[in-house]
């Protein structure tokens, strides 16, 4: 029996039942303080409505069907714009990561365009498309394009060359090499791009809908502002936050699923 064996085992104390609740403590506390501040008149209802009022406004809009319709419109714009911009960015990222020719042809141009903030194009986009759907889709697609493009390209370029050499030694065809070595190697970086892109997607949509739209969450918020319905304005902001969180959680879940080999995602 050695000394080490006879020592009691020290394990990290685990509180499994409360683990899942811990992240919610702070938001709940904030809402509580907020409610108290409004109820006691410390904060005027014209500056910030109480959470209960916001919830009530949400309930009314839910009953009238307006809320669901606007959320659906915003969600649809976000997804379609994301799909268009994301798939173009991904394809170009792959092409430029894998082909010297393609990279020489387009990379410099793309790197130059990247330096234009896409929201600076709003006046131009309105001139081109009016306040049509295509204006919003165009802006979202453009915003999403660059993080996906850059991170896909970076991921492919930084795949361990020793692994690629190994694949070649063991007789992998180009297709196999891509499927079994290059793509999985680039995946962590592609996910970084995906998460960035989701953030930019919501940001772009909010701005675009506040400036030029006749439906959607941003439009709902602007309408409410005109009628001084501050509870609806706050409601829209909260819903944006919730949708953003939802998108982030979805991408994290996907990441956990596909990167289960990664030491950072291994459960013990």
């Amino acid at each position: 029996m050695s000394l080490i064996d006879s020592l009691p085992r020290v394990g990290a104390p685990k509180l499994p039942r409360f683990d899942g609740l811990i992240p919610w403590i702070v938001p709940l506390a904030i809402i509580l303080v907020w409610q108290l501040a409004c109820a006691t008149g410390f904060v005027s209802a014209r500056v910030l409505p109480a959470p209960s009022d916001v919830a009530l406004a949400g309930w009314k809009l839910l009953l009238s069907g307006e809320l669901v319709r606007n959320i659906w419109v915003s969600f649809w714009r976000a997804s379609i714009g994301f799909l268009i911009g994301g798939s173009i960015g991904f394809t170009l990222g792959l092409a430029n990561g894998l082909s010297q020719l393609s990279s020489k042809l387009t990379d410099t141009t793309l790197q130059m365009v990247r330096n234009i903030p896409h929201l600076a194009l709003i006046p131009l986009v309105i001139l081109w498309f009016g306040i049509d759907e295509s204006a919003k889709l165009f802006l979202v697609a453009l915003g999403v394009f660059f993080p996906i493009y850059l991170n896909t390209l970076h991921g492919i370029r930084t795949v361990d060359p020793q692994l690629i050499e190994m694949g070649r030694i063991y007789g992998m065809t180009d297709g196999e090499l891509f499927r079994r070595v290059i793509f999985p190697g680039a995946l962590p970086s592609i996910f970084v791009g995906l998460r960035f892109a989701l953030g930019i997607m919501w940001l772009t949509l909010i701005v675009a809908e506040t400036i030029a739209a006749s439906s959607g969450l941003g439009y709902m918020a602007m309408q409410a502002r005109e009628f001084m319905l501050i509870d609806v304005v706050v409601l829209s902001i909260l819903i944006y936050a919730l949708l953003g969180k939802l998108a982030d959680s979805a991408s994290r879940a996907l990441e956990r699923l596909t990167l289960s080999w990664h030491p950072a995602f291994q459960k013990h």
């Binding site: 050695s2 063991y170 995946l187 990167l259 030491p263």
Partner: protein, 281 residues
Amino acid sequence: MQEALRFHLSDADPLGRAEIIEQARFARRGARTASRGLSLTIRDLRKSFGDNEVLRGIDLHISAGQFVAIVGRSGCGKSTLLRLIAGLDTATAGSIDFGEEARAEDIRVMFQEPRLLPWARVLSNVEVGLGRERASADAQARAESALVEVGLGEKRGQWPAVLSGGQRQRVALARALVSRPRVLAFDEPLGALDALTRISMQRLLERVWHDQGFTAILVTHDVSEAVALADRVLVIEDGVIAHDIDVDIPRPRRRGSAQLAALEGSILKNLLQGTEDASDL
């Protein structure tokens, strides 16, 4: 103190037993049946990188099934020679001839880094080694038996990230072995392992070489490893083979025997000749 003592005692027994088993194995297989290995003839092989002439005319014949170790100072071109043999680079001049037509699967390399795919389970990493036969019906069975051969049968479903350095290197060995190569080239495969793991890996290498009869070419910076494993030790200096030493010590060889130590000493002396600064090695 207690810990160290326990460790030695518990370790001594299995090591001793392994030695006996090994002895029996070698005795049984005393006269090896016709080797599956390929012979290798290298004529006036040269390789330059720009102005840097690394190999300046290597002439060498390795007979089928021989275990050859290559030693030399760091940067003398050992890896370069191995990469040329494995067909990973093209020579500036000269020829390498395998005696008969060699398929890609017949020649395999193992590097200092295991180069496993982190996103593939151990078993599919081994299947990679089958090359073009990956799609065949018995691919999985072959990969499994290669894993068992290196003693990792029970790790088949693991991710490489959870294995130790020595285990990863054994998976890499299984991957190299699974296509039943006829030439296996090792580029300092044990260089990154700790001393104990090294010794058990050396045993494993010697065993699979003995069982499978491939031609083994081992690049190492460890002269004691070279004399323990090889039939023949080549010393590369100034881009040529400066010394070619037969190791006439019967197997299995006892680590630390006087005979091995004497040979190791004379090879080290060869290596150090003509260099002012011995610590440079």
